[in-house]
Amino acid sequence: MNASTIVAAIGFGVVTASILSLGSVGFTLQYGMSNVFNLAFAGVMGGAEYVALAINHAGLNIWPSMALAALFGGAASAALNKFVYMPFIRRGVKTFGMVIITLSVWTIIQYVILAIVGATASSYQLPSKHLYVVGPIRINGIQIILIVIAVVALALLEVFLRRTLWGKAIRGAATNAPLARASGINVSRIMDATWFISGLFAGIAGVALAMNVASFTYTTSGNFLVVLVAAAILGGVGRPSGAMFGALIVGIATEVSAAIFNPAYKDVTAFVLLALVLVAKPAGLFPEAVQRKEVVL
């Protein structure tokens, strides 16, 4: 093990971090808005993976397939919130009940996928990958595009959240819904929009994840939850910009540790990081507003 292995690992880490950031930002957006850890996020990712697979195998190039899968992710997430989560919240289910509900939904989605697709692995039909070698870093064309997509999507999101009226409304509603409502903001519509956007990210992340591995199964997105949660919590839940940094740290750390230690323990590294953060700074490395204790209505 030498410096060039580490540098190569950092290269992989950047790719992983890009995919991870898409996921962790989406995940944290949902938490920020609804104060619920939506475990079914992994389910939406999984669903998008297979939607893209179907479209891709039907003949469409992977990139438009990804776009369509993203739309699916957005619609599925928004529907999930509107037709499953919100009704339960209105029925009076409290925070811990909601976690179980999201776990239930995730379980259902995961096993519906299994029922439809079966246990065998699948992969996309990708355009041929041109391998670029920069010193010790080996990266192919697909991965470069993934990084670009991630950067662009995240930049657009930041601009949207900070500069546009809708974005500010989202941030307002996320911090203080009653106040937002009183200011005339249609919180329910803002909520739908937030879930749709975060679902877009789920879709892109799912497809990107599946593109970055040799083959994927119905458990791939579920296993991703480990690094996803680690990145989101590291960055401070509810805060998209924090989630990006969290993703960067977790992505690079896991790849470097895979180079130094056993690659099978990548997730363990993420978990150790998570545990360290929870012990030292539970609010995350970039804490934002006070954590609310009740579910937002």
């Binding site: 850890f37 029925r91 509900i101 995730w106 299994l114 839940v237 997730d267 545990a275």
Partner: protein
């Protein structure tokens, strides 16, 4: 000569008792105290592993399986050790996480922990036998039955023993719940801040409860592994915790009978009941359907009957009628007549 029916019945009984024991521990943690321990399965697995290793004896390099530790402890020491390991691990988790984290935060961290645990167990071949797990775990006290572990006598005795242990766990949980201590636990569940404002230390009570629950989880794992003689990571995956939660939610949260009912209906009922259904499509499909049903159950219950099949009992105290004039200030729509029932505390 073994009797297949007896064997099957005792297998079911042992499984049932093991599930019930695990549900007892989780009921204490989750139903009574409100701790969402999504990593519960880890403690059961750890207990099982402990019991297995402590009866298998030390592994030598020429063995087909490798693991850490190993001894030939006689019954009941491996079981006790299993409970202790479950308790200690649980306490460790509590010390790390419970103080600082909100309940749902903690829940997903523990879920992630159980995801990791599966990965570690599957890959750590020299540590825990890897993907294949451990096999040929000896049965306890077989010598009392003529060394015939397949015989009717041994199987029935094992099932009876498991049932006794499960009952003991429930007695413990019952005594805790129906005492002032249990009342404080429930107060914590209802509103941790109000409880703190009354001097109730959430951290200390959580620690105690999670340790006790962990002990029961570990014990249940030990009982199971010494019966089925094998331990594999695939039997203790993260969705298993979800099965236990579903069992409690369906059977009735915060109610001992509900926990037993849930243990029988969900892990036992759905798990074993599948064998009797006609097979539609492939085996994979059946597995998927099983899990889809388990996933749907909490949703259905939360929507239609959130308190579960057997809800938490309303606790009444003896002599609930006070000889005092009714004050005109009280709002008197006809309050429910309080029956001077036997003291139930």
């Amino acid at each position: 000569m073994s009797n297949p029916v007896v064997y099957y019945v005792s297998l079911l009984s042992v499984y049932g008792a093991v599930y019930a024991m695990a549900c007892a521990g989780l009921s204490l943690e989750f139903g009574i105290t409100g701790v969402i321990n999504f990593g519960y399965i880890i403690f059961q697995a750890a207990g099982a592993y402990t019991a297995a290793v402590l009866t298998l004896g030390p592994s030598s390099p020429s063995d087909f399986q490798h693991y850490v530790g190993g001894a030939h402890w006689p019954f009941p020491l491996p079981l006790i050790a299993a409970a202790v390991v479950g308790a200690v691990l649980s306490a460790g988790v509590a010390l790390l996480g419970i103080r600082r984290l909100r309940s749902d935060y903690l829940a997903i961290v523990l879920l992630v922990a159980s995801l990791i645990a599966t990965t570690v167990a599957t890959n750590a071949t020299t540590l825990v036998g890897g993907d294949a797990g451990l096999a040929l775990v000896p049965h306890p006290l077989v010598s009392l039955f003529g060394n015939n572990a397949e015989g009717v006598g041994y199987n029935l005795a094992y099932a009876a023993g498991a049932a006794v242990l499960a009952a003991a766990c429930f007695v413990v949980v019952h005594r805790i719940t129906e005492s002032p201590y249990g009342r404080r636990l429930r107060a914590l569940r209802e509103n941790e801040f109000a409880a703190a404002a009354q001097g109730i230390s959430a951290f200390r009570l959580h620690l105690v409860v999670v340790t006790a629950g962990g002990a029961m989880a570990g014990l249940s794992g030990g009982v199971l592994v010494q019966y089925i003689s094998a331990w594999a990571p695939s039997g203790w995956l993260y969705p298993e915790t979800f099965v236990f939660f579903t069992a409690l939610i369906v059977g009735g949260v915060a109610n001992n009978w509900g926990a037993i009912l849930g243990a029988i209906l969900v892990p036992l009922g759905i798990g074993e009941g599948v064998r009797y259904l006609p097979q539609i499509g492939s085996a994979t499909l059946m597995v998927a359907l099983q899990w889809i049903v388990i996933g749907l159950l909490p949703l259905i219950i939360f929507w239609f009957r959130p308190q579960g099949i057997i809800p938490e009992r309303r606790r009444r105290f003896v002599g609930a009628r006070v000889d005092a004039p009714v004050s005109p200030d009280s709002l008197l729509e006809e309050a429910e007549l309080v029956d001077p029932s036997r003291m139930e505390v």
